[in-house]
Amino acid sequence: MDRKKVISRTQSVTYRKRISPSRIFTALATITVYWFVARGVEFSPTQLVEGLPGIFEMGRQMFPPDLRVLGELFWPVIETLQIGILSTIIASIFAFPAGFLAAANTSPHQSIYFFTRGILNVFRGVSEIIWGLLFVVAVGLGSFAGVLALVIFSIGAIGKLTAEALESVDPGPVEAIRSTGASNWRVFLYGVWPQVIPLYLSYCLYYWDHNTRQATILGFVGAGGIGYTLFVSLSMYEYEQVTTQIIVMVLLITAIDRFCWFLRRRII
């Protein structure tokens, strides 16, 4: 076969591969879905373009940042940090046993496994803010409600990740320890625990970062922290104060992010 023919044949093959009926169908289906979705959310570039002067106007009002509120922000920032720390510590105490019960290989019974798994899914499925809304109704305004909200969510999240870590434990060391005639408790302590603990600690650190981030906005539903001051300033159209508050928030989040990164590198 001469060279040209080979080339044309391979080209036609790749050509046929690229445009096949099933691919055209997938592309059309995708476009249709996105068309309906865009209509569903009232997606309109014109609205955005019409809003552009508004964006510039707001940007103008936001500058220069009002630095006088910095002093008032001190205690909300401390409170935000405290909410993040407290909720992570409490959640990490409960998350490990929960993960232990929700892992297929360590759970004592099938029914306990499904039950714990379901509870963890519900804890994790509802956002922190909505838990905050619930707890504000139940225990009243303030950072206590925020702590409870973050504790519930983080138990769900860390518990699920821990369960997955437990399920993917290397069976080799576990069997080796079991073969020495060790009790179940010893097998867990010397075979499973050392494998899981670095992962578990890194999840806890990750959720400390996450919880501090969420604590900054929990104030929107009245659950304490810096979010509340931001919400007040926004509803009074004090955009210069809003800028300062957002800057402080971003600095806080970045600082925690860096600190967690540093700690994680030390641990793992």
């Binding site: 979705v37 959310v41 508004g54 707001m58 409170e79 956002s127 909505i130 809304l133 906005i217 957002i246």
Partner: protein, 271 residues
Amino acid sequence: MTELQPKADSATRYIFKTKRKLRLNYALAFIAIAGVFLWASWGTGFNIPGLLSGTPLVYALICRMFPPDLEILSWLLKPTLETIEMALLGTTIPIFFALPLSFLAAANTGPHRVIIYSARALVTACRTVPELIWALLLVSVVGLGPFPGVLALTLHTTGSLGKLYYEAVEAVDPGVVEAIESTGANRFKVIWFGILPTCLPVMMSTTLWLWEYNNRAATILGLVGAGGLGLALTHAFQDFRYPEAITCLIIIVLIVTIVDRISAYLRGRVI
């Protein structure tokens, strides 16, 4: 035997020493955590009696929520669809922004140091502002409804995806890049044929992860008037219609669970 004795002794001593040191480290870490815990619980007013007195209140709230009000299901269809749609668009649109940004921000593909740093600064700025605050700002600019919600998710997700993408690009084996460069390919071709295929699975997996995240985030954007189930939920709470609130919560848990399953299935197919 007698010659070996001192050696063994020093080894045991060494082990005991490190063990003691380790124990000391654990003790110090424990004291530090306990101290921080006490400080934080003092600041937030957290205490065991408060927790115990709160339990009946939570229980009472749960009692008032049941049975769920299923009559509003037909009315909740639109907000539910809006939530899913916001999450879908809020994850798809950012891909088109985050992908170019990540190639500008990655150390191994960025054209110039200034561009690398400014792209990274842009990504970080988008990511560190929570989506609820983006939504709050955008609602006051483009008005109420799901559209500002999509924009808010787009901004925040562009930041998150951008960061995860450029980390994936930077983790690409330099051998791949060199192999393609040695054929005389330009920068664009190196990216298209070398880097993109290598980190595509990681990118897809992170995109799926953000899709899950955005479905959860889309349920709360309604709190600030940006559409979705959050709005219905807030109204139900404000008017003390708890049976309606629990219906909203059940739908939210269902959406999140189903999306988690779909995402896990797709991730299994991709990787």
